[in-house]
Assembly symmetry: C2
Homo-oligomer: 207 residues x 2
DNA sequence: CGATCCGTCTACCAAGTGGTAGAGAGATGG
DNA sequence: CCATCTCTCTACCACTTGGTAGACGGATCG
């Protein structure tokens, strides 16, 4: 039935990991139902039954993928949040990381989009995983407001705004790609600058 | 083979229209590949073959749906843009309309998301349809900058920012829904206020 | 060496997929 | 009243889907 949990043992990429990685990419870009187990297997050079050996069903593979993606997102976020920076410098650092993640691993944000579909049974799973990180971010904003570095407002609300803005910009890079305009590094950097200026004005400048 | 174009004749809801409407809703919320012709037909109380009579293939139905959605989006936008307002008042009006559309017909933005997937063959189609409206909006921004009502910057870039921000907020309402928190009217209004303040500061206030 | 376990495979299967062929019912019009 | 056209249907079909059953080979271990 396959190992249920991988106890972070120092092994090279196992079959299970390869499946997870490929599934994350496929589900994140093409979507869950557009990705068949057969296609996934062929892409990996294995048989579908090997996938079903490690993950009892397609749905359970999806859930494992969600956990995997959540871990990546949380790791990236924590990395950016553990610098000890404050105020806009911290926000800027996080934006830098998130956008870099959006460019390097677009499938991650794609998966978030896929999961946040209305009626998605797995939305709750991702939300659960990410909730603590979300709470910590809200705390940070709250502290910064107390310190007078950010204009006062409701932290959760503000966080939702930040989330939607940053994800919006990240998604916009995908739109550019959809238009056929491959987003160059230069364009991405320009967009980030603009976004940061945008946020600085909204977050810290007095009305 | 079914009529190719509907010459805007004043008829009550035809079978073709009913199919289009249901398909837009299904593709926009569940996605293209997650929606089978059989499921669509059953939901409409007809047979799959009736759908295939009006639309020769699933792909062509999708394209018709895209055109339909584009028309709705353009109509809503033009309505908001034909008020003769200027500056932030105009922007605010458009945001009001877009967010209302996002709440009332979430499937529309869902379809946009679905189409803007990387590798989507239909992305170009939607972009084509929307391009003129996009150009007109950029012109508007340009004129407002000339008139000194908006801070000067690259109109297309700014438009992309506005697009991503507004769509981000709209998508965020979906995230709220995914979390289980049904977005009340009050919350939606608050979010819009915040967004407008956000944009006002970024668009018109001097740095 | 023999028994057991692990990982991948071949061989199937029932259900669902998009799509074809064509019958039949009703309206329309010469 | 017959011919034609429009629309929806039944009957199929080839292929793909997720999933089951179990064989096979290699490693591990008593």
């Amino acid at each position: 039935m396959g190992r249920v949990t991988d106890t972070a043992a120092p092994e090279r990429t196992t079959t299970r990991d390869r499946i997870l990685t490929a599934a994350l990419a496929a589900y994140g870009t093409d979507g869950y139902s557009a990705t068949s187990l057969d296609a996934l297997a062929e892409q990996l050079g294995i048989r579908k039954q090997t996938i079903l050996y490690w993950f009892p069903s397609k749905q359970e593979l999806f859930e494992a993928v969600i956990d995997d993606a959540a871990a990546s997102l949380i790791e990236a976020f924590d990395m950016a949040a553990s610098t000890g920076l404050t105020g806009m410098a911290q926000v800027e650092e996080i934006i830098r990381r998130v956008l870099r993640l959006a460019v390097r691993r677009p499938e991650l944000l794609g998966l978030v989009r896929e999961v946040s579909r209305p009626g998605s049974l797995s939305a709750a799973r991702l939300v659960d995983r990410v909730a603590p990180t979300f709470a910590r971010a809200a705390d940070f904003l709250s502290r910064e407001m107390d310190a007078g570095r950010f204009r006062r407002s409701d932290p959760s609300m503000l966080l939702l705004s930040l989330y939607s803005t940053v994800v919006g910009v990240a998604g916009e890079l995908e739109v550019q790609r959809a238009i056929g305009l491959e987003p160059t590094l230069r364009v991405a950097v320009m967009r980030r600058r603009e976004l940061v200026r945008f946020l600085r004005v909204a977050l810290v400048e007095p009305i």
